[in-house]
Subunit: 233 residues, 2 copies
DNA sequence: TGTACATCAGTGAACGCGCGTTCACTGATGTAC
DNA sequence: TGTACATCAGTGAACGCGCGTTCACTGATGTAC
């Protein structure tokens, strides 16, 4: 009689015991080694990278689900919750990283010239380039509804604000050098920001529009407002 | 014995027969009269209006689901398919209407002045105002991923292009009047578009940012590029 | 005027899907004795 | 060196949800005779 053994939900003796190594990995999912004691944060890092990779590869913010990220890392969905409070928290962390790189890229570009006005132009070009090269990250940072992203948005905005204050400083330097007429640097900076964000997001959201050649167009857009703010003469 | 009657899923005789009129309307759903023979298109119109109303009231594009629209109209989900091929088709139709109003609003504003430059400014202000007053429609038109909206996007873009070509004409008129330096009116127009779209979408996606006063800011942004393109002297 | 029938706007129930999240659990790793 | 135990990273199964879409149907409206 097998009745007693059948209590153990049908595990026939004929089927060999599978060791962890021999188990066939489910399709599309790489088996992971369990982390060592001190290596907790390692998975957190992997999750963040996987989330960003998914964002880039699928080109779709919706594709970044807890389940998809877990699968990409080779882990089960509940594992994510060991490292992030919830989905918002994960998206939030992805944004923070993107914002940091976004700011860094502009600072680096701006540092390539000592001339304040040329530096401002370089900053603008770097801004647009970042947006076009990282469309999904750019979307998350500047094109999504505020409530659609983490409600603890404030500190994240602060990270984004870093890039903005750097822009304000750059505008101020232009004024100090007499390259722009005196005025409220914050208002001027928002003007610059509007231009670069405007063209970046239009190019992203309407790629099939019959745009003129990008480089030339972008230069015109960067120059026009600057020309308008230059001292006459 | 009740066994025979119980075959009819428990409808006790004590419960009176409900006529169509007496039926309690399900919560949040208004009972509709069935349309007469020739009145097919009436529901289509109601569906479109309900979809747009949902968009506005919830302030969330995701909230516009086939089911939600059906409920808002007071109809069952499959009914929608009598009037629209699928969800894309419905969203598409909503966009078309919004684009039409968007263009109309700008044309009307621009017609308020005979001076080409002033007319251009009025057009710009109308653009921003439309965006701020119709944030969800604006989002759908200019801030969402192309594939996220109907794949038969091309004709819709044409509707959107109407507003754009009107802008190009307005720029051309300024050049003809000597109010702007000669140049490619398309590039100039895209420059204007970038500015107004930039500030509109930034205000929409980061409402909690410490913006300066709107009116003044918008005027600065409209003026700066125009100043840059004015004949010197 | 009365009746049988065709039309077709709209229904009710179900399909399969992927989602975020929870819960009790497992089992390898490290530690105390 | 050996053994019992605590820790805790990660699992497996399930929850309830809302989604777009389909299908066979109902029944009021209009029409032909």
């Amino acid at each position: 009689m097998d009745s007693l053994r059948l209590g153990w939900e049908s595990s026939p003796v004929s089927e060999p015991l599978q060791t962890d190594e021999q188990v066939a990995t489910p399709p599309g999912r790489a088996r992971r080694r369990r982390a060592r004691r001190g290596e907790g944060p390692a998975l957190r890092e992997e999750i963040l990278q996987a989330a960003e990779r998914l964002l880039i590869e699928t080109g779709d913010q919706e594709a970044v689900s807890i389940r998809a990220v877990a699968q990409a890392v080779g882990v089960t969905p509940p594992s994510i919750y060991l490292h992030f409070a919830d989905k918002n928290d994960l998206v939030f962390a992805v944004c923070e990283r993107a914002f940091a790189r976004f700011d860094a890229v502009q600072e680096e570009a701006a540092a390539q010239s000592d001339d304040p006005l040329e530096s401002l132009m370089l900053r603008g070009r770097a801004y647009v380039r970042f947006g076009l090269e990282n469309p999904e990250q750019y979307r998350i940072l500047f094109m999504t509804r505020p409530s659609g992203t983490p409600h603890s948005w404030t500190p994240e905005t602060i990270a984004g604000i870093a890039a903005f204050w750097h822009l304000v400083e750059a505008v101020q330097r232009c004024m100090d050098a007499g390259a722009l007429t005196q005025g409220d640097p914050v208002v001027y900076a928002i003007g610059c920001w509007s231009s670069v964000h405007g063209i970046t997001s239009l190019l992203l959201s309407h790629p099939q529009f019959p745009w003129p050649e990008h480089e030339e167009l972008i230069d015109h857009i960067l120059l026009a407002p600057i020309e308008g703010l230059r001292p006459k003469g």
